[in-house]
Amino acid sequence: MKTAAECGLVACPACGTITRLSAEGLLTPPQCQLCYARLHSRKPMSVQRSWAWLLAGLLAYIPANIYPIMFTSVFGDSQPNTIFGGILVLLELKSYPVALVVFVASVVVPVLKFFAVGYLLISIQSKYRQRQYDRTRLFRLTEFIGRWSMIDVFVVAILAALVQVGSVAQIEPGVGATAFGASVIFTMLSAISLDSRLIWD
């Protein structure tokens, strides 16, 4: 049981081809001989980059919840809607499954993601050796579900486009939607920058 790094080998991040790092004729920085992708044994500055994106995502999540993600006006009466308010509206409509989907995608997933990536980064930095398999699974889950948070941004975009029925009803997007979208993108970049192989090193 040896890792590629321990054998002086590196796997191409795109095509998976294994290259010997001491090989002659390799460019600096090394490039995959078959698909020309940049090779690195571990993602460069993985922990720092991941922290930076995570903090950016956390900062963007604050205005995302404070400012309205959209304004609903019915017969000229304009109402601001926050993310949390939108979930309450769905509960009032008794659409419990959909309320649950939105709640999970826009509240549970982002918050869990901040804790999960933060925990993984701290565990890597403190060279914690236990529960590596569980932490890899946590990483996999974080990577998989993170993008689903974008659902709220798409809901706002669709409602804003669709509900333009003159004076009767109108929906306009709010700055909270931009902040929320930025938060989701930043945390996705945080998970992408995090190299899960560091958990096992």
């Binding site: 040896k2 054998c7 991040p13 081809t17 290259t19 959909v98 798409f154 669709l162 997007p173 096992w200």
Partner: protein, 237 residues
Amino acid sequence: MNDSEHPPTARTRVDTLLLSLVACHECDLLHEKHDLPVGAVARCIRCNAFLYARKYNSIDRTLAVSVAALIMFVVANSFPFLAISVSGNTQSISIISAVFALSDEGMWLLGLLCFGFIILIPLLRVVGLLYILLPLRAGKRLPGIELVFRGIVSLSPWSMMEIYLLGAIVALVKLASMANIILGLSFWAFAVLNILAAVAAQMVDNHTLWEFISHSRGGRLAILSARDNGPVDRGVS
């Protein structure tokens, strides 16, 4: 490999590629590649991550599904997506309307990102796959295949069509009590497109796709081994 015939000092570039090995992309553990039976999946023995798989007629079926997906993509973007009617007023949108709705309100950055996530990136991935596979199937190799392959791999987390579809359903539930909802032709085409994308993702993995590309005639592997005239350890192939 016989080292007396090929002393280490004369190691060629191809020899440095260890094609019979695979490293887990999640924990870096090295594994020897084996010839899998059809339908089998190889996983990392340490972290259980997906390593590679062998599917029945993977490339041809992916090609067929990709052509179907491209047609569905054109249909989904050519007709009305959703419409509502409230007290006699009807408003109809296409998929791209959501992008304009954001940019018209001054949120052009978010609009641009939505355009990328639901239209441009999914389209680039399908067209890229066809750009690689269609000519290779006919024995031709178009330039820049490596770049296109790397693009398909790195863009995959940013293709969000399935999330947009779920977003549309959530939006409809919110509106269902106050307006009449009409699902357009594009809505169904977009739903089918999502199914096709999921099927394609099941049929081929990056590893299989790359093996097909690199082992095809005129590929990097063939070029390197012809130039170096050295032995190529082709692993499972």
